[in-house]
Amino acid sequence: MYAKSISKPKPEINLSCFSFLFSEIFQYLSKNDKEKDIEQSLIDFANPIGERVLELAMYREKTKGKRYTNIVDVLHFIRGPVWKLLFGKMAEDLQQSSEDEDVYFIKDLCPITNKYTCTRDSINCAAFIAGIIEGVLCSIDFPAKVVPHFAEDDDEFTDSTLFQIKFTKGALEYEARYSGDS
């Protein structure tokens, strides 16, 4: 029964339902996680979600059991299928940093976490999404640190966020090991 039900995308539901829940989680974390700053709390909170999202996305893409061996493939997988599963659309953009080889950026013009939140205090609630990405990357054996930045060059989409993805040494080594094989 379960196998049948997860293979098809479920109907979508009202965004505000998520937003209400998210705002309560935000408040809970800011009360109970005082020693961390709130963005870090959100990232840590969302990490385990990433793990499950990965499983589900692979199942849907019929790539269950597939092993990703290079960083660019993994990032495309996140930008495409993972983003679609979570938000119903692909992420706007994927770029490699011009300065650092191990740093990439995924851009989302209007992250849903920022839809009904006030971003005045320069807290970016998209940290929650960053946490999910981190969780996905970690479970797929490409551990990375993901940090949300407001994309300041964008006047039209003020919530526009760049997710800065910095891969760990371990991830780079993992890729190098497998690229030698092929």
Partner: protein, 175 residues
């Protein structure tokens, strides 16, 4: 009617909720405490959700408790969780009913570990939401889970019991 509002995937909601419940379980001593917290958090949500619900659904004042029950089940659940619920088991004086939910999106992908099956009401947030929302329109209720398929029951049932409908009182200005 609700198609205009922006959508997200059910999975994101259920995974987020699941992670939150897991977190609460980790930071509280027992499941009963978590049930209470979920109820309270739900009630906060209900307090705010009712405004949006009333403006989007364009519902006008319900004439009695029976109509309220119908609106919750047919419109409330539909609008926020994308499922409809059934109202049943009215008591004799129409002050208590049960809501049956099929395919509760919150408990998607969830299996409760044995030690929580007797104690945790996983979706207790929903009871809080109902109570919190009705409270804002002066309808005081008590709301609790009776059955949950996660516990191995046949169905998922929430009991809503009317405590009182508070009449708006207008005092004359002092002369």
């Amino acid at each position: 009617m609700f198609s205009k509002s922006e959508k997200i995937s059910v999975e994101l909601l259920s995974l987020t909720y699941g992670t939150f419940v897991a977190r609460l379980l980790k930071e509280n001593d027992n499941a009963e405490e978590v049930n209470l917290q979920l109820h309270k958090i739900g009630s906060n949500i209900g307090n705010r959700l009712i405004d949006e619900f009333l403006s989007k659904s364009r519902k006008t004042a319900c004439k009695d408790f029976r109509e309220i029950a119908d609106v919750i089940a047919k419109y409330g659940f539909k609008m926020y969780l994308g499922v409809t619920a059934e109202v049943a088991k009215w008591n004799e004086d129409d002050t208590q009913f049960s809501i049956y939910i099929e395919n509760n999106p919150l408990s998607e992908f969830v299996m409760l570990p044995i030690h929580l099956q007797q104690t945790l009401w996983y979706s207790n947030l929903l009871c809080g939401v109902i109570k919190g929302a009705l409270e804002k329109i002066n309808v005081m209720v008590e709301c609790e889970f009776k059955q949950d398929t996660l516990r191995g029951h046949d169905s998922t049932e929430i009991i809503v019991k009317l405590v009182e409908i508070v009449e708006d009182r207008y005092e004359d200005d002092e002369m």
